[in-house]
Structures are given as structure tokens and as C-alpha cells.
Amino acid sequence: MNEVCFKNIDKDQCWSLTTYEASGGYSVWRKILKGEYTPEQIINELKTSGLRGRGGAGFPTGLKWSFMPRNAEGQKYIVCNSDEGEPGTCKDRDILRFNPHAVIEGMAIGSFVMDATVGYNYIRGEFIEPFDRFEGALKEAYETGLLGKNINGSEVSFDLYAHLGAGAYICGEETALLESIEGKKGQPRFKPPFPANVGLFGKPTTINNTESFASVPDIMAHGGQWFADLGVENSGGTKLFSVSGHVANPANFEVSMGMPFKDLLELAGGMRHGAKLKAVIPGGSSTPVLTAEVAMNMTMDYDGIDKAGSMLGAGSVIVMDDSTCMVEALTRLAHFYYDESCGQCTPCREGTGWLYRVLKRIMDGKGKAEDIDLLMGVQEKIMGNTICALGDAAAMPVESFLRNFRDEFEYYIEHGKSMVKG
């Protein structure tokens, strides 16, 4: 536990440069400045490490970095995604608060690999404390001569800035995020072209999640194999899991990939008040909900959760006990996507509102027998037809809640009240 992003979490002033350097921080970056690494070496280590994007999609980071046209003329950018807004997810906030230098060093390493001499960290607008910590760390790094132009007289330059959001979940989607840095509303771009070719300000850009970046320095310091060995096949390393909901001790836990869910639940103090586990959303609100039975037999890694019928996502484990009304829970999630749709594409703009309104009507006791088919039909029509994955994210919970807990919905429609809460 706590071997990478959180390795200093128990230390005093764990966010300071002193603490970070005392545990080997910036040693990789200093070597790079001395010319002791080639970009290819770093990419190879990352590939060996099995690090996959921690923002939700799980794309192999080494592979992603290799897509950047590093030798292309002109400015290139590296961007960190600290927009963290998916319900259930709150790990990046803690990385920024408690280990900001790891993010900086991870981005710096990436900037060298991809010849992206300018970087931005997009921090969600409400994260003022994390923003201040990050800015503080940036200041320290600049003052120590770790950032800037021709750092320490080397050929290497890297300028890093923080950009603050202003309240829009969709800006976590990487291209919406780029639009937002450009001072526009956060509407995802259609792809292709991909950011690696046309990104921020029209220039090649790579975007990674906070946790992905924060994992890179240790991977480089200890070797890709070391990281890979911390986890399991296909899921290298440790992962931060935000365990929230009906557990006794909700918190962020950095554990090895592949840990059985029941052990993670144990770590979180088990079910609160000894209640009975009913359902688990394993990777954040956009991932399909699982029944207790399935969850208890699942391991916490990409393949394990996939096999269970859901996704690791951002590692946001929402635990629900048997007092939870699944109709209410889904309505709340549907409201979220309805509220957060950027509105540019038809199925999501119109469909999320439709889903929410039907659910709301059921909650108001005015459900109709055909509503379940209607909900299924609408989510199916959103699925796969939108510009960005928010559409799918809105559809998936509906499908999984209805599939796994259909009886509760039928009951609510028939009786005009919750089967659980009465």
C-alpha cells in the first residue's frame, strides 16, 4: 500500500519539495537534464511498466507518448487532466494536495519525451486548495531551477502553468479540456484529428491524467518492471481507489492492481454499521453497476472488473448497502449527465434530458409500465452515437441499473413508491 503516488502521504509537509526530494524526487528529471536518458528509453520503460491511463479509458501511457510527433517543427504541448469531476472520484485532488511535485516531475519527463516545452495542468475550478498547493510546488520548482528555459544550462526547456476550470464535468474529456484552456466553452472536439496531431492551440498535444503523470517518476526511478510487478498482468502497478458510499472508512487507497474487491472493502472498514452490501459501482458513475454477489468475486484490475461486467474507469468505487433505493440512485446519476451534457450533439443533448425526466416521473409516482422499455430504448439510441463518451456514460448506468435491479423499477412504477424506502 501507498508505494507510488501516496508514498509520502504520512510524512509531515508531504507536499513540500524537501519531502519530495528526500524520497528521491526529481532524481529522474535531474538525470534527464544531464542528458542521461533518451526519449526512447523512457517510452520503453513506460511500456514495460504496464502503466495505463488513470483518467478512465486505461490507454497504455507509453504507447500514447510514442504517438506524439516529437520531431515535428513548432510548439508542442503537454497537458495534465486534473478536472476530476466524475461522481465517486476524488483521488487527483489528494495527489495535488499531498504530492504535487510528482505531477510536475511526471509532466516534465513527458515534456522531454515528447519535446513539448510548454505544459498546462487543468485543475477543476473548485479545487482551490489543490490549486494553491500545485502553484506552491511550481514556485518551488522554478526557484530551485527545475523548470524554465534551458534549465541548468541544458538544452531542455519546460514551462508549466496551472489553468483553472469553472465548473463543468465535461472539461474532463480531453478535447473539451483543450477548448477550455483556449478560453472557450468546453465542447468536445470530434476526432480525428486527434490531439497528438491537432491539439491545444492547434498544436500537437498529449493529455494525461494526474495520477498517470504522478506515477511516472517512480516508474523511471525504479524501472518499468518494478512497477509492472506491483500489479498483475495487463494492469501494472498500484492504483488509487476512491472508496465512498456506505463503508465505515471511506478514503483513497493506493493498492496493488489485482486486489480482490472484498479486501479493498475490508481496507475501507467494511460495510458501515455492518449493513448488507447491495451494489457496487466500481469505476465511477459512468461504469456499469454490479450486484453484491458479482462484486465480491471480482478483483480490482482492468481485466478483473471487465470480467465482472463493468470497468475500472478512474477507480472510483461507490459502495451501496441494502438501504439504497436503486431508482433514486439512478435518477441522481441521470440528473448528473443531464446537467453536465455540453449540448452540442443531438442524442446526448436531447436524450439525457429524456432519461432524467422519465426517471423523475417514476420517482414522482407517475411511472408507466412501458417506461422501462422506453428508458432502455433511449439509452440504446444514445449509446455509440455521440461525439464524446459522455453520451455512453449517461447510457451505461441506465442499462446496468435496469438490468440488475429491474424489479425495483417495476415496483416503483406499479406502486408509486420505493421498494426499499417505502
Binding site: 470530434f190 450533439c345 442524442p347 416521473r361
Partner: protein, 749 residues
């Protein structure tokens, strides 16, 4: 060249092309709302989803680049299911009030819905309603119908060059609206009506009048400027009800200016001249055509022909007339032996007239690297030409302007502000630099010229660019050094290998030149006629207080009781009524067939979209009958096409003109440049109510800088020559720039 397969059919495609471009070319129909061939891709409506083999999800045809061997299905179950799904989503919040919608019958949504929208009744959660809003006199909004395709938004930022519409809010609350309190003000705004696929943006002057299928649609040509934009006149029961843009990549692409789109409103203005009238003992009397024409013939005979003093007859026309009309009038006059004819009514001194050829194709303007614009507020004065320049600038061209005032352009310009009497000198500086760089000898007139810094910059920008163009605008027509300025430009063009564009003439002036509507050396030009003792005039479409530079002289001459005046007009006019003896009502734009000669010397012919109102008749017919009654030979035309073919068989006359360059500065203390504001340049526009109510239509200012205002003892609350004063620092010294929607008031100049 790639090969792809669409619905089982092998077709060729260019690398980088989007699937929809290929399907469109092949005539395979893929439904779409947000895609527009002249706008950037948005890929947001999702209507064009098709099945691409190997792709897990359906792909939007508008934003999926072709790849060799790609197999696409536009109609299989997967594609259809997605298209149907999107249609259903689009309709849940749409009012479905097609029967009362202005777009009904020409709505892209309605068209597609017929094919795709099944089962829309499943939505029972209440529809979104957007409160109505007023965005100005030209465009009517009904945003409850909006499908958020953002074509109008993209049109604004990409084509109009000013982002006026935007999408505020997010998700379901996304609302397309302008932010400016004054609404939409762009000179190209009406194109939003054409790009809007539904009835959210419609023509305000047209509103609620008719369904599209009730109307006839006739190709026509707009004649307010030198572009001759292609458009459709939509008519109903003999009236033009609406104009929509036509496609012609060589001319106007697929856009038209608001000036071209909304001028038709003037056709049905109360002020139309509807019946022939003759003046008997000082009283106007409506009469039958034959009576009026007899009266006219008698007048000509009594005053001119019987006394064989045809040198006392004059013919004047405004350049708004068609080529055929101008041809017949000059033929009529010349057949009588009269060589006094002119269309250049607005020129102060014809010895100082501008002669400059236009030798760049409209479509090539967007490929230039450097343009020098002299004396033009080109954005408002020539919207479609400006649109091409804007494209060039966005592609990297440099645009330098040399003006007396800093105008508001919708792209980046390098503005040089110079007083009217410094323009020639500045250009002479440019020429001097160029001459020195070449091997040529410095001509005498340049010996005393020291190029200023700006002249040096202009010269080097011309030398350092490949494709350059020099554009001369209307502010220079009456400059004391107008002819020299034009000649300097010709010289500069020669040495810098530049093309030239002469925007000092407008409407169908090139048609007038084509038919030689100017006197040869034996005849009198307009200003000479106005100073001479005349006995008769034939005036074609002349409105004196707007058209003549020398208004006082014109009225003096025309109001003389001994002068017999035959006027052909489309609109009533008090001064015309005062000086005329016969008024013959003529058909206006869209009411007659004819030909417009555009800046590229392209003869664009059009037929009449509607009949002429009341007793009015196409002027070519009036002139033909008049000639017949005068027993002149060669007027046996049955239609205007025969007139045109006669024109086509004649050579364009070549006139010698003075190429001298004179750099003596004018000594006038305060120079005044008078221009008609953009929606005020011809009689039809002056009667187009909605256009006149628009922001541009309201322009009526005399711009002066503070120092000059002080020297003239003027303040912001004063008027100058009757025009409200606007004190601005972006004006050159010692001059006044007037853009007015009032009658010309140059008498005092």
C-alpha cells in the same frame, strides 16, 4: 486517388476528403443538418451517421476521412437505426408546427423527417420553449424550432467575420442567440436565413406571407454592385416575395449581401411611378402610353428635330440601368445624330476622371498574397469583394489600406490614414521606390518625391509578394488628383507586376462602358451639357439629388422651361416631376430582362422575375417604341435578347485618356468626401424599408477629427452639410468623410 465502396458501389475519392463529399458527388443521399460545404465541420447533429465496416460505432459521414478500401453502408440496419435515433431526438423538442412555420415546405428537418422519423409520439415529457427575441429588422427568429446545428454561428465567425450568434448555456439549455443588444448587424447576415436548415431563422420582411411551394423561383442577378451576385427571386402573383442566394463559385460562391437580399422590398413601395404622365400647362396628367409617347415625340420634334439642333439634345442615364437599356438609349440618340450622352453623373470633373482597368478575377482575389486598398470602406461598400479579401487575409495575405478614415474591417489590416491630398503623393513615393529598384529612369514628375516610410513599406510588401492586387475605391472618384491617382496605380501595377481592381464605378457602369454610353470627341459629357444651352433631355433612371455631383447646375438646366425633359423612372421623385415634361414609368430590378456586366466583364443575363407594376414597362421596350415613333431605323427587336446580341457583336470601344501624372496638391483647406451610405446607393435600395431600418441602413455621419472640427467650429451635436457630425480620432487631418443616407448635398462643395 483512393477507391472506396459505398453501398456496394466502388467509387473514387481524394485522400483527405470526407465521406459526405464523396456521397454528395456520387448522388448518394446522406441526411445532414450541421454539415455545410462552405463552413467548418462541426459533426454535432449526428444525423449523417453511417456504418463503416470495421468501426465499432457508426461514423459521421461529414467528419470521417476516406481511407483506401473503406467500405461504407449508408442504408443498412446499423446506419438506419442511428439515423432514426437521431431524428427521433431532434423531434422530441421540436414544435412540429410545420403548417404555420415559414420554413414549411423547404425545411431540411421536415424533409428528412418524412423519411426517417417514425414514432415521435413516445415523448410525453413536455417540449422546450424558447421565448421570442428581436435580433433586428432583417431576421426573424423562432428559436423553439432551432435544432442547434450551429450553422448560423459558424457562418458568423467564419464567413461574416464577426461572431454575432453564439450558443449560450449548455446541455438542453443550449440556446443560439446573439449577445449584442442591437442584435445581428453584419452586412452578410441574411445568409444565416439560407444556412438555417429549419424555420428558426427566417426572413423578417417575408414573414408569414407564403409557403415556399406557392412561389415560383427564378434565377436572377443582383445589380447593386459590380459583383452581380447570382440569386433566386421567389415570386408569387407577380410580386417578388423573397430573395435567396444562388451558387456560382466564380462570382458569389453561395452567399449574397444583405443589400442584394433585401432590396426587393422597394419594388412594392408606395412611391412607385405607375402610370405615364404628361405635363400640360404646368399640370401633371395621367395618360395612356400612346398619348405619352406621342407627347414625347412631339416634344423632341418641336425642340430638336424640326429645328435640326440635335446638338442641344442630351441623354443621361444612371448606371443602374441594364446594358440593353443603355444600348438602346445611346442608339436612339446616335441615330438622331446626337453625341451628347453620359452616365458619369457623379463625377465632379471629367477631365480628372479615373481610368483604371480591372484585371483580376473575383475568385482569384482570395488567392492573393498582398492587397493595397485605396479609398474604400470595402467591407460595407463591396461586401462580396471584401469577403474574398477576407479569405485571402485568413490564408495569410497582407492587406494594407490607404484611407482618410480608419474603417472597421472583419480581418486584420494594416491601416494607413492619409489626408485626401496626400494619397497621390504617398503612391508617388511607392512608385519612386519601385522605379529605383527597377532599371528604369526616374521620370521627371517623381524627381521631387521623397517616399515616406509607409510608401517604402507598401513598395516592399508589393515586391516581396507573389500575387498582388491594387484596389481603388469610390472615395477617390472626386479627389482633386483622381486621374493621377489612377495613373499612378497603373504605373505601380506595371512595375510590381500587380493586378488592379477598379471599384470607383458601380452597379452596371461596365455595361455602360460596353455600349459606349459616353460621348466621342464631338459630343458633350454630362458636366458640359449642364453648362450648355440645351433644349431637350432624355433621362434614364435618374434621381437628381442622389445622382448628380453638380446638382445645382443640373437643376438649373433641367428646370429651365425651354428644356423639354423626358424621364424614365421606376420611382416618383419631386425634382423629376418639377423638371420633366413627360414621365414614363419603367420596370425596376427583377421586373425586366436584361444583362449586367460585372467586374470581370462577364455578361450575366437575367429574365424578368415578375411583371412591372401598374402601367410601367421595361425601359428597353419604352425606348424601342420611342425610336419607332421617331421613325429611326434598326429598332425591330422582339425581345431583349436580340438587343443583347447586337451588343455582343459590337466591339468594346477603346477611349484614349490622359496618362499624365500631376502631383500638385490641392489647396482646398478642408476636403470633403461625400459617399452614399451602403444601403443608399440606388433608388430601389432607398425604398427598401427593412434595410434602411438596419444598423448599416442608419449610417449617416460626417466624420471629422477633433482638430479639424475645431477649425470648422463643429461639435458632436452639429451637422455638416446636413449630416450629423461624428468626431473621431481615426480620421486624417483637414478633411471630412461623409457616409450619408440623405440626398447628396454637394452644392456647397
Amino acid at each position: 486517388m483512393l477507391e472506396i465502396e459505398i453501398d456496394g458501389q466502388l467509387v473514387n475519392a481524394e485522400p483527405g476528403e470526407m465521406v459526405i463529399a464523396v456521397t454528395d458527388r456520387e448522388g448518394i443521399s446522406v441526411p445532414r443538418f450541421c454539415y455545410h460545404k462552405k463552413l467548418s465541420i462541426s459533426a454535432s447533429c449526428r444525423m449523417c451517421l453511417v456504418d463503416v465496416e470495421g468501426a465499432p460505432k457508426p461514423q459521421p459521414a461529414c467528419s470521417t476521412p476516406v481511407a483506401d478500401g473503406m467500405k461504407i453502408h449508408t442504408q443498412n440496419d446499423k446506419a438506419k437505426a442511428s439515423q432514426k435515433a437521431v431524428m427521433e431526438f431532434l423531434l422530441i423538442n421540436h414544435p412540429l408546427d410545420c403548417p404555420i412555420c415559414d420554413q414549411g415546405g423547404e425545411c431540411e428537418l421536415q424533409d428528412v423527417a418524412v423519411d426517417y422519423g417514425s414514432d415521435v409520439s413516445r415523448f410525453s415529457e413536455g417540449k422546450r420553449i424558447i421565448a421570442p427575441s428581436d435580433i433586428g429588422p432583417l431576421i426573424q427568429t423562432d428559436m423553439t424550432r432551432c435544432i442547434h446545428c450551429t450553422r448560423c454561428v459558424r457562418f458568423g465567425s467564419e464567413i461574416a467575420g464577426i461572431m454575432e450568434m453564439g450558443g449560450t448555456g449548455r446541455g438542453e439549455d443550449l440556446k443560439i442567440e446573439p449577445f449584442l443588444k442591437e442584435g445581428i448587424t453584419s452586412e452578410l447576415s441574411g445568409n444565416m436565413i439560407d444556412v438555417c436548415p429549419v424555420g428558426a431563422l427566417t426572413s423578417k420582411p417575408f414573414r408569414y406571407e407564403l409557403r415556399s411551394w406557392q412561389m415560383n423561383s427564378i434565377n436572377s442577378i443582383a445589380r447593386h454592385d459590380l459583383v452581380g451576385s447570382n440569386l433566386y427571386a421567389q415570386t408569387y402573383k407577380g410580386n417578388v416575395k423573397r430573395l435567396a442566394s444562388g451558387d456560382n463559385d466564380a462570382v458569389n460562391e453561395t452567399w449574397i449581401s444583405d443589400r442584394d437580399r433585401f432590396s426587393y422590398e422597394g419594388l412594392t413601395h408606395d412611391n412607385r411611378l405607375l402610370a405615364p404622365q404628361i405635363k400640360v400647362a404646368g399640370q401633371w396628367k395621367e395618360v395612356e402610353w400612346d398619348v405619352a409617347l406621342d407627347f414625347a415625340v412631339k416634344g423632341l420634334k418641336n425642340n430638336i428635330l424640326n429645328s435640326r439642333n440635335v446638338q442641344k439634345l442630351g441623354g443621361l442615364a444612371s448606371a443602374t440601368a441594364t446594358t440593353e437599356e443603355l444600348h438602346l438609349l445611346q442608339k436612339l440618340l446616335r441615330e438622331m445624330g446626337c453625341e451628347n450622352l453620359d452616365y458619369r453623373l457623379n463625377i465632379k470633373d471629367l477631365d480628372n476622371a479615373i481610368h483604371l482597368q480591372s484585371n483580376i478575377k473575383l475568385a482569384d482575389l482570395e488567392h492573393i498574397d498582398q492587397a493595397i486598398v485605396i479609398g474604400s470602406n470595402i467591407r460595407l461598400e463591396q461586401p462580396m469583394i471584401n469577403h474574398r479579401l477576407r479569405k485571402a487575409q485568413l490564408a495569410g495575405a497582407g492587406i494594407t489600406t490607404l484611407n482618410v478614415k480608419e474603417f472597421d474591417f472583419n480581418y486584420k489590416t494594416n491601416d494607413i490614414i492619409v489626408a485626401p491630398n496626400e494619397i497621390a503623393n504617398t503612391l508617388a513615393g511607392v512608385l519612386r521606390v519601385l522605379v529605383e529598384k527597377s532599371a528604369e529612369e526616374v521620370p521627371a514628375y517623381l524627381l521631387a518625391v521623397t517616399p515616406c516610410a509607409q510608401a517604402i513599406d507598401i513598395a516592399s510588401s508589393l515586391l516581396n509578394s507573389d500575387k498582388t492586387v491594387l484596389i481603388l475605391g469610390e472615395h477617390v472618384v472626386n479627389n482633386a488628383q483622381a486621374a493621377s491617382i489612377a495613373n499612378l496605380i497603373t504605373e505601380i501595377a506595371k512595375l510590381s507586376n500587380s493586378l488592379t481592381l477598379n471599384l470607383t464605378v458601380t452597379a452596371n457602369a461596365l455595361g455602360a462602358q460596353r455600349v459606349n454610353f459616353v460621348p466621342n470627341s464631338t459630343g458633350m459629357n454630362v458636366n458640359e451639357m449642364l453648362a450648355a444651352e440645351m433644349r431637350a433631355f432624355v433621362l434614364l433612371d435618374v434621381y437628381p439629388e442622389y445622382d448628380f455631383h453638380h446638382l445645382d447646375e443640373a437643376l438649373n438646366t433641367l428646370l429651365n422651361n425651354d428644356v423639354f425633359v423626358i424621364s424614365l423612372n421606376g420611382f416618383k421623385n419631386d425634382l423629376v416631376a418639377q423638371y420633366s415634361d413627360v414621365m414614363l414609368p419603367m420596370a425596376a430590378m427583377y421586373e425586366t430582362s436584361g444583362t449586367h456586366v460585372n467586374i470581370n466583364h462577364e455578361m450575366q443575363s437575367f429574365s424578368a422575375a415578375v411583371g412591372a407594376p401598374g402601367e410601367s414597362k421595361p425601359a428597353w421596350k419604352i425606348l424601342k417604341v420611342l425610336a419607332d415613333l421617331l421613325e429611326l431605323p434598326g429598332f425591330h427587336y422582339e425581345n431583349s435578347t436580340q438587343v443583347l446580341s447586337e451588343v455582343a457583336h459590337q466591339m468594346t470601344p477603346v477611349h484614349e485618356y490622359d496618362t499624365a501624372i500631376n502631383l500638385d496638391k490641392s489647396t482646398v483647406e478642408v476636403e470633403t468626401i461625400w459617399t452614399h451610405s451602403p444601403y443608399h446607393t440606388d433608388a430601389l435600395l432607398r425604398h427598401a424599408t427593412s434595410l434602411r431600418a438596419s444598423k448599416i441602413g442608419q449610417i449617416n455621419t460626417a466624420s471629422i477629427n477633433a482638430a479639424t472640427a475645431k477649425s470648422l467650429s463643429l461639435s458632436d451635436s452639429d451637422t455638416y452639410l446636413g449630416v450629423p457630425v461624428d468626431i473621431t480620432e481615426t480620421m486624417a487631418d483637414q478633411c471630412v468623410f461623409i457616409s450619408s443616407n440623405q440626398a447628396t448635398n454637394t452644392g456647397a462643395l
